[in-house]
Subunit: 702 residues, 2 copies
């Protein structure tokens, strides 16, 4: 990690912006004076905590507790109002209930307080009344220029400056370790969880923020303000939604440019959890694979377990982000307990990460270094020999230098319990010499874990967290630059008819079947530029599912049948014109689609065609536009397409043409911003070398 | 749990068997005298540990360290040989290297030592030499009647009797808590992990065993010996394979009869892990869904995380096993931190467990009990009000009495860190009053967790372990009685031809398409009892995949084409006879199969038909035979069948007929033990009410 402070933008506008960021960061995290508006005299109450914590931590700035009902709170002078203070504080934490909180923010804004953090809930998450309250807060920001963290913020903490502007009960902590990670969370409770679980695992923080409803300052904006902080090396995020995705993306790109890694946990793998995110924060909740695609495109590593998030950063910080292109990532597992090691292999495999055996050459080197004949197997099992320092150290040194691995996982058995030296010394002595290394200790072994942490060796308490963090670190790629404009789709938009949709495909060079149109009440069959049989389809910008309403007749075999089919379609749908195209059959069909997601902007999707693909939800997504290489990677992610890739001797489909069509469609992201959605379903996949053909298309404009 | 000791069998044979079990249990776990054969003088070496641990734990029996090279080990007298001892010890732990170990077992056997545990590895897991060594051990057992634990056993421990016959480094423990759980493991390292992690989480053991290669005494047999131990209430298993599945099943059925729950972790979700199980233990490794089906049929709850295994038993022990039939299990989640609670909802949903909102009536009762208007949502969110005792206690009491839930999960936020009383007292006071309850504490909160454990409230340190254990407990059902004979398939068996296979289906009443056979060189078309078009297929017991070799001609439309097709098939395959059947098309197709698994015995399988189903590995398995209700449950587990269940307005297939055919096929388990495998692929699914038809079948006999 690069801890150096570098300005991200040049020129006078840039430097004024940078100055603005620096001011904001100082007001947020290192204010010289703070007011606690609504500070209670009862330290066991939520509103009683901030003053208590600030004093416990020996915050060095000036503190103004404000409580109109008391002269004294927690043994110190209480001020009756903001107006009564001898100065305008740099940051106010408003801990009064909802209605009073809005008034307090307004008073702060008028008085020139630059930054206010708001604890109260009862805003966007609570329906129309709450939405009105949020609108009032926004109006106050616009009118006065005050910046707001929250509402529903459990606070903001800088452990270096002892700025404990928080009501989170877990900060009642006698000893607050200072580290170099900054944590930001949509959930207020999680900042206490980061602090307490981190402390137990040797992970410490520079600062933490509960961003609440992000009515003004978003999680991304707050993190951006910290980017040039030389005391911050890395970021942990707990995300409930992608509400302010544009800011998050800007932050992620700038963090990547500074070499500061980001590790995130995002709620919402399940529909049930996404529904909760909506009801608890008022945010929209997109589907989970959209979040996956977005975070990946931002270079943010995503974990799936709480402990993977807490314990994962030391590993992430040590992993290079440059993508290997020659092969999939490979992990070596070395162990003194085969059963314990297999507990890591299983969840790694579940995340698509392969544990690979050492090469024959590497085994020869291990033998030369240790005298041990390791059995050629998927893990390096030193069960009998490994409790000896020289053996484990020798094997690790050889593996760290072996070209076939991207990461080495050491799994230590029972010796770690009472012989921490024996168990972890070879790991500590071998770490940092080549390929990154992570350790999982199978028994309860707090001392051994602490020694690894102290020596800077990434270490894990459970096999699941280990596999989770390893997979997240190995899958992380540098952020995808450019594009990814975040746009909000307004309304349903306007649909094109199928011929207009084909015109768009033609411009993008997505191959489609030849088509002509005729009047639906035609008395003579048209001259067809292609042979029978044909399909006859209603041509209309109004019908989205024309098959469902009798708007499609297939396998029409001659002129008479053609006229009859046109009449049938006309009777069923009332359309004036029908579209005629040849019947096409291929080896299979896929769906390719483009849409502007309300959270994250332009997306491109590849899915298997047909009802089973729907049932299995078998699809791959990326932020658009994409290059061919990424389109090919997407094909690898759709399981059904294995059936078109020569599976068990079957004929191969033209998957290369699928990749070209997908990449071409994705160019809509830059080529035509009026398109909200464009879906080709099905795209017929012909045999290898013969291409693909769109035989239906649906396009919606803004 | 029922801690009372009850004899499982009656009559004199039964009671002599019970006596044998009691003797074995005493010799294994509470021997009055032990020999350590190969005890080293160096306590840091593996072979030096047993004597040290026995003395540290103050084992009260007589200990005989045997070491022919020394007069003294660890300060006490060492004996030169077994023969030199003043008595025949009741249990010997052999810690000498491989070859010497076999000799030592032989000597023990001849001397009349009833039980020996063997540490050495180098047996079945190491190829032909190892297999020969195992055979020698088996011969010694047969010749002398000695019972062997291992080889590759890290030992056997009874914490009540201080029998620490183990070389596991994690037992170098000054304070060994005694509990009521017995743990058995295929992996030797895991007994130290159970002990140490359990201790850290308030989970203690009566005894633990590392069963090693199970050359003589299997994991199931050792556990059976403990079944009538009144100090043992429950079992934890760590399984690497299902090598001795018949014993495991017998143990599970008897444990269930005594109300003693079993919680298991089994390695091998992934192919990579299964490959390791083979290379490390020499065991066969069946597919993971076979293990799932087997463990479920045994009434064994299976978890997927290490901490789910360590922390899960208190919950499992409190859950009723009687299956609800009126609805799927439903979980209530109550919380003071919505973000933390959602972390549990996601992994629960991933395991198919629904978190459900309280009914309107329940919300009214919560309001009456607490004065709080809880928003109607999927979780009961007390974030603002919940830190108060009366609110949390009131809400929990109402939920515990509400009929709509099978389990209540309480998720406590930051208050648990420094205010354990506040956080856990309402939970402790409400637990045990109705619906079972489990708690997950989001921050690091060891004190609060310890209070919950002390009060007997199931509690979890991570959301993943919580969801894992909750799902395992809710899915557990009473063991399926009867059948499930474990048989080992010898060789490839003998295949039937398709007509013979249909005869078997006819006996089982699995509907199949009408078929006639004719000579492949027939000069005149036969009279067909069904109309054209027909399929013409090679009839042979030798061809397993007749389509692949040109043995099938479809859509034959008249007599001339029929003769031509027969000739074509004859030329391609050389068969004498062909089978003719009508072309059948339905709404879809499935595969139903029966086979005798080498580990677990008769299995019945339902899978989607076609190549995509293969790609998705979309199937459901059960031990055979099954009843209709179970067949219907299997249909619900195959995703592809949703497309036949009225998905999005599509025509419904006759899934009831699929269930009947599946249940009928499964009766092979009792009806015909000569059948090793019977597969119907495809079984054509006709529209609802019109049944199913087998159009191909493959049967293999022993």
């Amino acid at each position: 990690m690069n801890g150096a402070s570098t300005a991200s933008s040049a020129g006078s506008e840039g430097s004024s912006k940078a100055r603005g960021q620096a001011d904001l960061a100082q007001q947020l995290f290192a204010p010289r004076s703070v007011a606690i508006i609504g500070q209670s005299n009862d330290p066991s109450k939520t509103a009683g905590r901030p003053l208590k914590y600030l004093r416990q931590a020996r915050y060095a700035g000036r503190i103004y507790p404000i409580n109109p009902h008391r002269n004294e709170v927690l043994g110190e002078r209480a001020w009756p109002s903001l107006a009564a203070l001898p100065e305008v504080p740099e940051h106010a934490y408003v801990v009064t209930p909802t209605e009073g909180a809005i008034d307090a923010v307004e008073e702060c804004g008028r008085a020139g307080v630059p930054v206010v953090t708001v604890l109260a809930s009862g805003f966007g998450e609570t329906g129309p009344d709450g939405a009105r309250r949020e609108a009032r807060l926004r109006d106050i920001c616009a009118a006065t220029g005050i910046r707001v963290v929250g509402p529903s913020s459990l606070g903001i903490v800088d452990l270096r400056h002892k700025t404990l502007l928080t009501a989170n009960a877990a900060f009642d902590e006698p000893d607050l370790p200072v580290g170099r990670i900054f944590a930001a969370s949509h959930s207020g409770g999680m900042i206490g969880t980061f602090l307490s679980r981190g402390k137990a695992r040797g992970i410490a923080f520079a600062g933490l923020v509960s961003v609440g409803n992000e009515v003004d300052l978003s999680l991304g904006e707050i993190c951006v303000a910290t980017l040039d902080d030389p005391g911050i090396d890395a970021y942990l995020l707990f995300l409930g939604s992608l509400r302010r995705a544009a800011d998050l993306r800007r932050f992620a790109l700038e963090a990547a440019a500074r070499g500061k890694p980001i590790l995130a946990y995002k709620l919402g793998r399940s529909a049930a959890a996404r529904e909760l995110a909506v009801s608890h924060t008022g945010a929209l909740a997109g589907e989970d694979d959209v979040a996956d695609a977005f975070l990946a495109a931002c270079g943010i590593a995503r974990v799936e377990t709480l402990e993977g998030l807490i314990e994962g950063m030391p590993l992430l910080a040590r992993m290079p982000t440059a993508a290997r292109t020659d092969r999939a990532p490979a992990v070596a597992v070395v162990t003194t307990t085969a059963g314990g090691a297999t507990m890591v292999v299983d969840p790694l495999a579940g995340r698509g990460i392969a544990v690979e055996p050492p090469s024959a050459e590497t085994l020869v080197r291990i033998k030369a270094a240790t005298g041990i004949d390791v059995a050629p197997a998927r893990i390096v099992d030193l069960t009998l020999a490994g409790a000896r320092y020289e053996v484990m150290k020798g094997a690790l040194d050889v593996l760290a230098a072996a070209p076939e691995f991207d990461l080495i996982v050491v799994v230590v058995g029972s010796s770690a319990r009472f012989y921490p030296d024996l168990a972890v010394k070879p790991i500590i002595d071998s770490a940092g010499k080549g390929t990154p290394l992570a350790a999982f200790l199978v028994p309860e072994a707090p001392e051994a874990l602490a020694r690894l942490s102290a020596a800077g060796v990434p270490n894990f308490h459970t096999p699941e967290a280990c596999a989770d963090a390893v997979a997240a670190a190995l899958r992380r790629r540098p952020p995808k630059p450019g594009a990814a404009v975040v746009a909000r789709a307004a309304g349903a938009g306007r649909q094109l008819d199928e011929m207009q949709a084909y015109a768009l495909l033609d411009r993008l060079r997505v191959p489609r079947t030849p088509s002509i149109t005729v009047r639906a009440d035609a008395m003579a069959a048209p001259h067809l530029p292609f042979p029978y049989p044909v399909a006859v389809k209603a041509l209309s910008a109004q019908l989205a599912h024309k098959s469902d309403v009798g708007g499609v007749v297939l396998n029409v075999r001659d002129d008479a049948a053609l006229l009859e089919a046109a009449a049938t379609v006309r009777r069923a749908t009332g359309v004036e014109r029908v579209l005629i195209q040849p019947m096409v059959s291929g080896l299979g069909e896929v769906l390719i689609g483009y849409r502007v997601d309300p959270d994250v902007g332009p997306l491109v999707m590849l899915a298997a065609g047909g009802v089973l693909a729907e049932v299995y939800r078998d699809r791959s997504l990326r932020l658009a536009p994409i290059e061919l290489a990424e389109a090919r990677a997407m094909i690898g992610e759709v399981k059904a397409l294995r059936a078109l890739a020569g599976y068990r001797g079957r004929a191969e489909g033209d998957l290369d043409a699928v990749a070209h069509a997908l990449a071409a469609l994705s160019q809509l992201a830059t080529a035509d911003r009026t398109v909200l959605e464009a879906e080709v379903n099905p795209l017929i996949v012909l045999p290898k070398g013969r291409g693909v053909l769109a035989v239906d298309a649906l396009v919606r404009l803004a």
